[in-house]
């Protein structure tokens, strides 16, 4: 089983992000589970969301205590990051900085991708939550890009051009992260 923690700020869509990830994993024929860390959501406040992906049905229903992967949607959250990520795991940070400049001490690998820049370029707004999963797909190979595209269509397809732009940006993030 792989456990993923996604950190964002209220309104940034960390919860939607974990849902899309769960749908994508399901599209890939896996079992999945996505849930928010049950906060009182407010705009701008730190928000945490979890996702579990497994080949077998998932029984475990507690919080995630040691993640395989972490996705940080806002680099300012790196400063107060105290999630446990497995040694040899991966922390993806939406940042224009270099990994060594990210103030996280962990034996997990840190990768920085400037997702906000791609979002502003293609979507025109700093919507990074969904497209950040492109980096997750490229770097971890846990889910395919095709499954992610399908998941985006399913979750926000009704929003028309926003969905199309998200998919275009998703592909760009995927390419940029490879």
């Amino acid at each position: 089983m792989k456990q993923i923690v996604i950190l964002g700020r209220g309104g940034q869509g960390a919860v939607t992000s974990s849902q899309v990830l769960a749908v994508a994993a399901f599209e890939n024929g896996k079992h999945s589970q996505a849930f928010p860390n049950f906060g009182v959501e407010r705009m701008g406040a730190p928000v945490k969301s979890y996702c579990r992906i497994d080949e077998k049905p998932i029984n475990l229903r507690s919080h995630v205590y040691e993640a395989d992967y972490a996705i940080i949607l806002d680099q300012t959250l790196a400063e107060c990051f105290d999630e446990k990520v497995k040694d040899g795991g991966l922390i993806i940070v939406n940042s224009n900085r270099l990994p060594k400049e990210i103030p996280i001490s962990s034996k997990a690998k840190i990768v920085c991708v400037d997702i906000t820049k791609i979002a502003l370029g293609i979507i025109g707004k700093p919507f990074v939550n969904i497209i950040a999963l492109g980096a997750f797909s490229a770097l971890t190979k846990e889910i395919s890009l095709q499954a992610l595209e399908k998941a985006v269509q399913k979750q926000i397809g009704s929003k028309g051009s926003i969905a199309e732009k998200n998919i275009a940006a998703l592909k760009k993030v995927y390419e940029a992260s490879k």
């Binding site: 700020r9 860390n37 906060g39 701008g44 406040a45 919080h63 680099q75 107060c80 105290d82």
Partner: protein, 108 residues
């Protein structure tokens, strides 16, 4: 904030939204007034409003409408933003009648 965290908070999984050490007082009463002051929310901000004090006419519209009471009156009667608490909603920017307030993306 990290240092003050008790073992209990660390286990609760919601520690990061709780400022300061956990106090289990009788009846869940907070006996220290103004304790919310310790909970700084400035880092929630995406946009940062900036008041150009030369343009400020001291009308106080920004001060009266700030939902977080994060605008303070300075000694000369003009207004300043308390960035420890400002969440960057930009209501002040929208309401300023003389466009003395502008904003940019917060650089952290």
């Amino acid at each position: 904030m990290k240092k003050q965290k008790t073992k209990e908070q660390a286990q609760s999984g919601i520690s990061k939204t709780c400022p300061g050490p956990m106090v289990f007082s009788k009846g869940a009463v907070i006996s220290e007034p103004g304790s919310t002051m310790k909970y700084k929310t400035g880092n929630w901000r995406t946009y940062k409003p900036v008041i150009e004090r030369a343009k400020c006419i001291k009308c106080g519209i920004c001060w009266a409408n700030c939902p977080d009471a994060a605008i303070k009156k300075d000694s000369d009667g003009t207004f300043i933003v308390d960035y420890d608490y400002c969440k960057g909603c930009l209501i002040c920017d929208k309401l300023c009648p003389v466009k003395a307030i502008s904003h940019g993306v917060e650089q952290k």
